[in-house]
Symmetry: C2
Subunit: 128 residues, 2 copies
C-alpha cells in the first residue's frame, strides 16, 4: 500500500473513531490542493469543534510546512475550532498536539517521536 493511501486509511479510521464516540467527524476534500485555509478533518460533539491536520510517517521525525500550519490556524479560526496536529508514527497510535507543542525552525515546524510522546495526547484524552 502506498504511503498516501496508508495516510488516507488512517484518516478514515480517525473519522470512524469520532463517530463511534458520539462525535461527528468529516474529512475535508482536497485540503492539500486548494489554496485556501483548510484542515484534514473537522469534528464536533456540538460543544467543541476540532480542526485537525493529519500527518503519518515511517520516520522518527516529521517536518510540517509553515504554510500547512498557517492554513490550519486560519481555518480553525473561521470555524471557531481548536486547531490540532495529529501525528501517526509507524505502528503507533495517533498523537494529538497543539501548534504550541511543535518546534519551530527557520523553514518548518518539526515534531519527533520523543517529543510527540511527551507532549501529545491520545484520542481518548482529546475528546474527553
Amino acid at each position: 500500500m502506498s504511503s498516501k493511501s496508508k495516510g488516507l486509511n488512517a484518516e478514515r479510521d480517525l473519522v470512524h473513531k469520532f463517530w463511534s464516540k458520539g462525535w461527528a467527524g468529516v474529512r475535508i476534500a482536497g485540503s492539500g490542493s486548494m489554496r485556501y485555509p483548510s484542515a484534514d478533518i473537522l469534528a464536533t460533539n456540538k460543544l467543541r469543534k476540532l480542526a485537525i491536520e493529519c500527518k503519518t510517517t515511517k520516520k522518527v521525525g516529521k517536518y510540517i510546512e509553515k504554510e500547512d500550519i498557517q492554513q490550519l490556524r486560519e481555518f480553525a479560526e473561521m470555524f471557531n475550532a481548536e486547531p490540532y496536529l495529529a501525528v501517526k508514527f509507524n505502528r503507533k497510535e495517533w498523537l494529538f498536539l497543539t501548534i504550541e507543542d511543535l518546534e519551530e525552525t527557520d523553514k518548518n515546524f518539526m515534531i519527533n517521536t520523543e517529543k510527540a510522546e511527551i507532549k501529545g495526547i491520545l484520542f481518548e484524552e482529546l475528546i474527553k
Copy 2:
C-alpha cells in the same frame, strides 16, 4: 465532461464563491460513500454556518433520496449549521432551498425548475 465531474466542478465553483465573499467554504470528502450524516459543502462567515447538499441536473426536475435529506439534517444539527439544498439546473445559477421548500413524495423529495425558481434564493441572497 461526465456529469459527475461537471457536478464536482460546479461544487468547487461554489466553494470559490464563498471565499471570494469573505466566507470560508470546504467540500466534504466522500459524503456520498460514507454511511454517516454528511453534506457536500460546509461554509461559514463566523456568524452563520451553512451545510449544503448539492445537486446538478440536465433535467427539469430532480429527485433527492430521503436518506440524503436525513443525512443533511443530522449533519447540520451536529455542526449547528443551517441545512440547504443547492440545485443547479443546466446553464442556470445555483438556487438554494430549505428542506421545507422541497416536495415530499412517498419515496423521495422532489424539486423542479419551476418551484426552484419560485422558492429558491440566489447565492447573493443566501449569504447576505
